[in-house]
Symmetry: D2
Subunit: 406 residues, 4 copies
């Protein structure tokens, strides 16, 4: 076999905000022999998966699963619902919102970006009022879609999607609501149907705890209707044939069988823990992480209390400190991978992922690695972040539910 | 874990022409923990992979690896090189050639199909002379690309790609040559550079012995140049950013890390066996399989001796015999999955895959299952196909090379 | 990783009479992370296992599971029940019966061997009448135990254990009945309680479809009583502490945790298929295998119709033909491992295993490999064994039950 | 598959002093298909293994590998070298020394125990001078063996084996030196040949990072000579046939094939890191752990500075605090398994394992779990152990060597 001994002795701590660490159960499941994607077992697996993934998105409508990574699902959301030259309203919440806008441009759409100066917009959630104002200023209804990012992986800001829905409704505007919840799904509270989202975009390698390689479009009836008349060329991403064949649990072209084994396992794990318990676990770990950052005396990238992400925390380094140097020191000395600052905040922040298959002690390991890495980099710390996080975790700890058989 | 006990006792024989059985080494490799796709280990893995996959395609030019299944790579080949309304010349060699043409239409291209009446074209390789005639009849050079399928998975016909190249050259036509070798690569002889192919399209789940989920575009300098001016909208499939970032072993968006682990293993296995040995192994198994079909007194789908596929064999059932009933009997009684007849030959043929990680005894198991399945279906057989295959295998058997350590 | 690419391209056919091929489900289960053998999850696992393994032995009494291979369980059966110098009656049914006798000698017991001249005893089951006669000739009841092999792995002979019980009872002799069913359990019908066995010895790597490394002693109350006064030194093998701690699902010393994961999986698989179905599957495969050997015109090692093993078939090669040369040819040309002739029959026979996770097509693959190997060795064959086996399999084939979800 | 979801969300921290966490590379290796233990690949594997394991023990003499757990190797060391009634000198360093003595009694030997009152002996290393005195008082040389534990898993005390050797030599006594390094090997410095050990006993589930199920006897020529005349009955454990067959890489009975795959992987990993680097890593983690215990104001079980174990640390809880309650709280709230107090120290101590595949952040996770568990149990702490450990780790951290390919 190839030498997969990438890392030095002991467990590697993969605390980037995705791909998140894949649990052993899922790794074993994806290594099961590939079966015939046209055989009866596959159909049974497909029907189970499609029913289950709807429960994760909280939708009664179709969820399209692509044998492709998350960027593909962004493209799918756009090409299925829009036509060349269509105006779309996007909000600059961070690097990924910017990349989605760039994609819209490459595909021949006319995205309009609601932005704040400098990095201000990168520290706040989506401004629903600004969206409402802009839509009210569009009496001709030229704007065909509002595209927002639920959880900005580049910043650690989670936006209020229900508020965006209310803004669109308040403006009595027919634009579709497209939401990127690639890093939000199955970690942060998300409700496709209740929040009136038309297309929810997600990926496998975050809250679903899978390797990258699967992505999703959850649909609304309005989105399905829009796809009938949308004029951007589409074939691989086209919903129509997929949704039709999914009724029997199959796909029009070869699905990513082994990652689907993993998805079945992931859905079982998440539903067994309970979606609300999963969300609460993520919130609590996020609180402990922020307690650590505050104790260090460092700034958190997100400045809105209501928008702190349960998925990751962006930590700003003091002036003159290269955040990537901190990451490098933590990586080389402590076998810890942290997320880099992207785009506008390159070198000024690092990101701590606390999503997916994360628990108290894994977070503590990550925070210890950060604290020692910051110190090795010569960053003066106001206090012990590790100690502050322990106070929070200890005071909120509950005995875990165990496997029934135990 | 989920009950992955799809099949009854004993090994399932997956003898469809892809996905092919994934070797244990690869299954183990893909179950290794996901790493940071921006970290240094990943870059080293990426550089190794990209160098290795070029050797499989026999090309010195870039190979783009998509975190998507093979149908996506079809789309990528078209959207990177062509503009809306472009004429493309395609050849109806079977079901997959037809699907590719349908995709070209959905994407707004103007495909022209060289076909023969009924299923005649489905029993023969690409007619290079017909291509040459058509290109000579295009003095305005409106045809921008010639698209052919190297190994038609639906029929078991392997076409002469070098002849197609000669035909284009003889017609002094500038059309690009796009070749689908999804089921040919790493099983049937293939030479991207030597044969002057501009885009070779392939997938992971055939000769590369991986699960589905990865796909490929091998490029030529001419194809890269064409992609600068091609006007079909593209973003996910766009070569430019991928080729640029691949220089360091990275990808612009999240790659399918775990399937890439498998690809590294696959490349190691194939190069260790030797590409020419891999091709010879496939040819020999194909010969044994055809010996069996002839002994049964059944017709082989492919009628051109030079075009018999080393990857799969299409078996036509006699008038009045439902081929899918044979498949069903073999599946239910003998735990054997065979390929169905697709499109025009639905119900009139079944397909035996002998590709990838296949060897003599696995083929014998498959043929025994076919022979018993045919008999259970009441098909009168002229003789023992199993016996005929054994004669061929025995008389051509050579002691295998062993692992050096043994 | 180490290069575990032992074998050339394609699946290796491990058709020795154990270790038998380990199903993927079990291989995945044994690769699950090791847990604390003193923690609550382990206790739950242990209790489930101990309950389940009793169902496989068909006993309501304790089954001791050793973290050791099968030879250890032979020793355990002797040292727990016997004292230095004790007379034990054994029957020379083959190589393994001879090894067990040799072990008894090394341990300081006084085994007496019921044998036939030459290899005659190696072609027949245990002669229960001879046992009865011998016990009747022991009025002082010096013989403390009768030790027999249920399924002789070296010959392919399965003895009638119920008849041995009846013989002991008829002689009104108090000797314990110790039975080696290492290769019989979970393949051939076996009933510890009903047949009045005092100690049943078994191992993991045969019908249980596990890797080697676990072994078993199923006990009777009489055996447990005997262990109180037996004087051979014992510590690791001593039943007392193990049986006591097993009540809570634990072991006095570190158990083989990962192989126990596999055992749990194995028990689930066997009980889901149904023990009687498992036995019937083995019987049918044995019949097909013998049909092949007869068609070849070769002799089957076992000459008693009632004693043909459902686990393996011993094939005698004609005078002048080195059976190991046939094995070598099949191994080198067809990636097939067959069992060698052991002890008295070295070079005169080879053994075909058809146990554990075996099914129709795997047997056909093995028989095709044998047939071609025999031909490569220049052995004249009377007819097609492969053809004869197919006649049997086809005429007795039934559609398989599928996974409920399918 | 069986529901192997023993633990709640996130990684379980198995910080008991063995079984230690098994690295993914080893778990994948042991899940590779079982091969024929009589075939040529197995012989190659066996020869490689036997050569490699000698390097780990630092011996040029035979190492016997048993398909059995560590307790078996204790028994093997005794039964191969001793005769019924033989006097053996043992030293009560803790629970495992006591169990080995109990085993010697069960096997019919006459062990004599050097002990200190109460738990005093459980806090110190082997007193080599006491051994020397006792041997000098044995002019008749009735004592046949000195048996000591290198690393007491129950206490966290590592004894000076070279000093024991010097003591025996100083007394000019011919007793054999048998050493239990079950939890010491491959974690604490160990030198079978240089230290003049006659039989070294070890197991797989500690420093070798394997699941339990393999165990070892490293031999000296003197031990081999003794085994010729030793009179305790032995068969399974007998060295003679094993050593003879090992020359070709095979075993007389079925070895534990899949665990041997893991052992090959383990040896590769250890030798690649370098034995001295492995020892240094363990020492440094032990120092950090003790810094934490001292900062908490708790007592370390081992009171001799020179004998602190690099493998585990025993932590004594204050009067009135049930150590098992601390363990239970840490387990239920923080998914952390700690070792219990055994025998004489039951309820008064817990053990933190920092062996095998452990690194800085995993130790920090474990210490955070201990600290929070102690606090939940109401134990007043003098200070932050986590902080103290970080000071040590940070000040001694070095950038890790990476995989060559990276």
């Amino acid at each position: 076999m190839q030498p997969l001994n990438f890392h030095p002795a002991g467990r590697h701590y993969l605390q980037i905000p995705g791909p998140s660490p894949v649990p052993d159960r899922i790794l074993r499941a994806i290594s099961y022999p590939t079966i015939d994607h046209r055989g009866p077992e596959f159909g049974a697996l497909g029907r189970k998966l499609l029913q289950g993934i709807g429960r994760i998105f909280k939708t009664a409508h179709p969820v399209v699963i692509y044998p492709a990574s998350g960027t593909g699902a962004w493209e799918a959301a756009l090409v299925n619902t829009l036509s060349p030259g269509d105006a779309v309203l996007m909000v600059e919440t961070g690097h990924f919102a910017s990349l989605w806008k760039k994609m819209a441009e490459r595909l021949g759409l006319a995205p309009e970006f609601i932005s704040l100066p400098g990095i201000e917009g990168w520290r706040r959630g989506v401004d629903a009022e600004a969206i409402e104002r802009r839509l009210r200023a569009d009496p001709a209804q030229a704007i065909r879609a509002v595209c927002v990012v639920h959880n900005e992986t580049s910043t650690g800001v989670t936006s209020d999607i229900a508020a965006v829905r209310r803004a669109i409704d308040a403006a009595r505007h027919p634009a579709l609501l497209l939401v990127d919840t690639i890093s939000g799904l199955a970690s942060a509270d998300y409700r496709h149907d209740e929040w009136g989202v038309d297309v929810s975009v997600s990926g496998s390698q975050k809250g679903l705890m899978l390797p990258p390689g699967l992505s999703f479009n959850a649909l609304s009836p309005k989105a399905l209707a829009a796809s009938q008349s949308a004029k951007l060329p589409k074939s691989f991403w086209a919903w129509d044939e997929i949704v039709a064949m999914n009724r029997d649990g199959y796909w029009p072209y070869t699905p990513s069988t082994n990652l689907l084994y993993g998805l079945a396992e992931s859905i079982d794990m998440i539903l067994a823990e309970g979606l609300d318990n999963v969300f609460a676990r993520h919130r609590r770990l996020g609180e402990a992480c922020r307690a650590a950052v505050r104790a260090w005396g460092l700034e958190i990238q997100c400045v809105e209390e209501a928008c702190h992400s349960p998925v990751l925390t962006g930590v700003m380094t003091p002036e003159g400190v290269d955040a990537d140097q901190v990451r490098k020191l933590a990586y080389e000395h402590f076998n810890l991978s942290l997320g880099t600052g992207l785009g506008k905040v390159k070198g000024r922040m690092f990101r701590i992922g606390h999503l997916g298959d994360c628990n108290d002690l894994t977070l503590m390991a990550a925070l210890a690695g950060c604290e020692m890495g910051l110190q090795l980099a010569g960053v003066p710390l106001a206090g012990s972040g590790v100690g502050a996080a322990m106070v929070h975790l200890r005071s909120t700890a509950r005995p875990a539910a165990r496997h029934p058989a135990a």
